[in-house]
Amino acid sequence: MNKDNEQLDALENKVAKALGEDLKALFSPAGRTPDEVDRAVLDATRKRLVRPRRHRWRLVRAGAAAMAAVVLLAVVLNVTRDHVGRMHPAATATAPADIDHNGRIDILDAYKLARRLEGPGALEARWDLNADGQVDRADVDLVAFAAVRLDGGA
């Protein structure tokens, strides 16, 4: 019985010693890190830390570009809207619609142009308000619509 116990103790000591050496090897410091590795890790860390700042600047630039695009879009829309407004018959004729040159556009301008259309006199090219190459009733209508515009045509 004592002999068995001694054998077991010896075996236990052997295993414990091997385990201790293994654990020691596992957790002991792995020696000094080479300088090249240190520098590489440092560089990588700096790059990683600097990148978000660049990223932030890019976002700022993208935001500024978006704002500029919005402003540009607004300008284009306003110009387009203004252009569409001018396409309206009432808006096409403004100063040229002042047929009698009295400084205001009213129904008498349309009437006078209509009379000229029906009369024998020559028609002036400046009365072609819709620029379709001829002076006709459509131009008279333009003058009349300019006279009744609510936004200041008259």
């Binding site: 570009a65 695009a69 879009l73 129904i107 008498l108 349309a110 009437y111 619509f145 009744v148 609510l150």
Partner: protein, 163 residues
Amino acid sequence: MRYAILAAVLSLATFTAVRGYETRPEADPACKTSFETADSDDAAVRFVPLHVFIDSGEAPLAAWQFELNATSDVKIVGVENGEHEAFAEPAYYDPAALMNNRIIIAAFSTADALPTGRTRVATIHLQITGDADPDYELILTVAGARDGSEIPATITSLVGEEQ
């Protein structure tokens, strides 16, 4: 490239939001939801014709133009021609005046037979909210003779079916 796409997307989103705001019904005072209309219709709404007359005296009336300004409880819903056949064609007015309380109306005629004296030149149909009489102002902008010269004239009006 990614940022260009991002800028485009942001622009599109802003544009959509702005357009959505501009075109929403509340942005147009003339365009009310049924709920708002129901609320504001607690007061009675009625329709009355407003007959407009111009008296050019003995001078034949070849052209006329006047302006109607009414209070906010009055809305213009239609314009009818005058009584004289010389002005049988529809008068000129800005369609934007409809459902608003201001309108400029004008007409001319190159016909041989022109009205003289007091003649009804137009009938304006009004929608009035409330029981009060419509409050409005008529301004004769110009009246013209056959030769295109301006002539003195007076403008009057009458509310109701009688003329």
